[in-house]
Amino acid sequence: MHRRQFLASATAVGGMAALAACAPGTGTTDDPTGPSSDEVDTDVAGLGDITLRVWDQEVRGSQDEAITALIKAFEKKFSNVKIDRVKQSFDDLQKQTALTLSGADVPDVLQVNNARADMGEFVKAGQLLDLSGYAEAYGWSKRFSDSVLSKARYSKDAKTFGEGSLWGVPQTGEVCGIYYSAKGLKGIGAEPPTSWDELRTVLETAEKAGELPIMLGNLDKWPALHVFGPLQAAYVDPEQITKLAMGNAGGDWTDAKNVDALTELADWAEKKYLGDSPNGLDYDAAWADFTKGTGVLLIGGSWLGTDMAKAMGDDLHFMAPPAGVGGKVATTGGTGLPFSIPAKAKNQVAAAAYIDFITSEDAMKLIAENGGMPVLDTADLAPEKGVNKEIFEAFDTVSNDGVLLPYLDYATPTFSDTAGATLQELIGGQSSPKDAAAALQKDYADFTGAS
């Protein structure tokens, strides 16, 4: 192409620019105001034939089966409602949700991550329905403890996280802890650790015995957060961690304690406790390998238990991390992703009824039967034996006697991205603990300073 022609074309394109005069972002705002408790309509049978569109990320064995069973029961109870369910992985749902909620074609119910990056942003944009009215009408505030619901509460401007209106209701509980294979521990002549020092000894012994001490697949960037969370609690006061994780002012990532925790993680990586290349291994491939006998410990979320137990049976065990600062057990966990209703949802009445149905006491039983961990009555619903019994007990102990720390990526709209990349670099040895702390602090301080 000749230059003169190129210039002529460029001029023509430039001319079109003049046509495009209107600035981006002049769309209409949604109305997020939900009904108050006395205007709430709970009559689903009278709605006529409808299709309720539900999006969730419960793709793992136990939870998938529980949801399938619940949907069947719901459709039986309300024969005029047909449920159109779309399930996809957490990552995919998270990406999809941001695009979808801004459009007109939204599902009626969907799972939204509690984080400021997700729920916080959607609340700020008025894209979710305020569920406070429904909560009162259906008695959700009585059904759930304050600490559970607070993780789905934001002020209407989304500046405050933890109080204010209710934007979602969780169904399951989650806790990050330590999985181990009884045979694996025995093979290196070790016992389940009861303190952090014992844990360190186990790691050292495993490494010397030529075993992989901790199985971690961190290709997806976020899994390391579930290892670092419990480890952080060994150094840092839970109250501090909560501030940092909720993105409320008053914390400092660069203080000595946090740097110590980051240093230990880097140290583990350097000593190959996390394997040769945790950053190159897929999250799901990691636990699959663990079930085949690679690795002595796996630090991760309770949601993996059922799938891993299918392959490992009674050999698989779970424990909460050893007690941290102040002798209290503190670890990352809380509730599963809450179910929310988009402000533009067409069938809000049925949507609220669905959320009520899948979080009811009967539903909790069904979840437990299918191997998931319900957020309510966890200790009572614990199975007789197996890894899930240990998981349920660990959750119960941590929630009642210890502290369930919020996920670190709740903190700011960009924290998931920042923390994921930072921990990858820390583990990979490209960044020092000090630099990592500084990077995390920058994201946190930029956000808390601005709001």
Binding site: P24, K124, Q127, G280
Partner: protein
């Protein structure tokens, strides 16, 4: 671009062509295509440029910030890494396939081997497979206990085995190598097209002078396919700069930002970090980069010949 000006120019000045009398007729044929093209390619490009001047989260009101987004890019670690990575990827997507493609095309031209067509088809095959599928296949090959490491360990190269996509030094070349695998067939085919037009008597003459295959290649083949080399470079460089699918599916730009590329940054900023203005500014920089590299590469081709009056 074209060489075939031909006799259309010299015919009757008035009518657009032998069968077209009306002066407006050419525009009627152009119009439908142009409207769709302008509305869904040119106009959005202009809008991108406009978006890049605003600070906007994709929701609600936007703020005009002038060139602020571009200024921010200058000291944005993620963006600079992406540009650097893209330049490295060009080596793997364009230069390596060019070297391989030249070798293969030269061999195929001379070869007289049986099953020539089969080789051509097989080596071109990667082009046909969806990148998403390619990513699934290679992600598995690069896994810590995947086929690549199995092979390395089997031949005693244990020290080389690693989680290729998670190793900060290895991840980018690993992604790039997928590009080499993808593009070599395309480059080969383009060059083969060029070589098929070289008159056989040129080679006969060279052979009479006693030229072997190597001298023949440098004296005759290589200069004759300069045009095709340029086309191949343009296509593969564009492919290198818009490696979105592979990065999205294999590494999400990690570890850290070791494999992030401008096209992935566009998506990440717009739809994950919800910074539409910054994403648009990256998109515009990416476009300018593509245009600039194209102009540069095309100039290499045109310089000697434009004087010779190609048109």
């Amino acid at each position: 671009m074209s060489t075939r000006a031909g006799n259309t120019r010299t015919r009757r000045r008035s009518a657009p062509s032998a069968v077209v009398r009306g002066r407006l007729t050419p525009y009627l044929f152009l119009l439908p295509g142009f409207v769709v093209y302008a509305a869904f390619a040119l106009y959005p490009l202009v809008r991108s440029a406009q978006f890049s001047l605003y600070d906007w989260s994709g929701i609600g009101a936007s703020t005009f910030v002038g060139l602020g987004n571009y200024a921010d890019l200058l000291h944005d670690g993620g963006f600079l890494a992406a540009i650097g990575n893209a330049l490295v990827l060009i080596i793997f997507y364009a230069l390596l396939p060019l070297a391989i493609g030249l070798l293969l095309a030269a061999v195929l031209r001379r070869a007289q081997v049986r099953g020539l067509g089969l080789f051509r088809t097989v080596i071109f095959l990667p082009q046909v497979v969806a990148l998403v599928v390619v990513a699934v296949a290679w992600k598995h090959i690069y896994a810590p206990d995947g086929p690549l490491n199995t092979v390395l360990r089997a031949v005693g190269l244990d020290s080389l085995a690693r989680g290729w996509l998670g190793d900060p030094g290895a991840a980018l070349p690993a992604v790039g190598f997928i590009g080499t695998w993808l593009e070599m067939g395309l480059v080969m085919l383009l060059l083969l097209a060029g070589m098929s037009r070289i008159p056989e008597d040129l080679y006969e003459a060279a052979r009479l002078d006693g030229a072997g295959p190597v001298r023949e290649f440098f004296a005759i083949t290589l200069p004759s396919v300069r045009g095709e080399i340029v086309s191949a470079l343009v296509l593969t460089i564009i492919a290198a700069l818009k490696t979105f699918d592979l990065v999205y599916m294999t590494t999400s730009g990690g570890p850290g930002d070791a494999t992030t590329v401008p096209s992935y940054e566009v998506y990440r900023r717009a739809f994950e970090l919800k910074d539409v203005g910054s994403a648009s500014s990256v998109a515009i920089v990416l476009t300018i980069l593509v245009f600039a590299i194209n102009l540069l590469v095309t100039r290499i081709d045109e310089r000697p010949e434009t004087r010779g009056g190609r048109r």
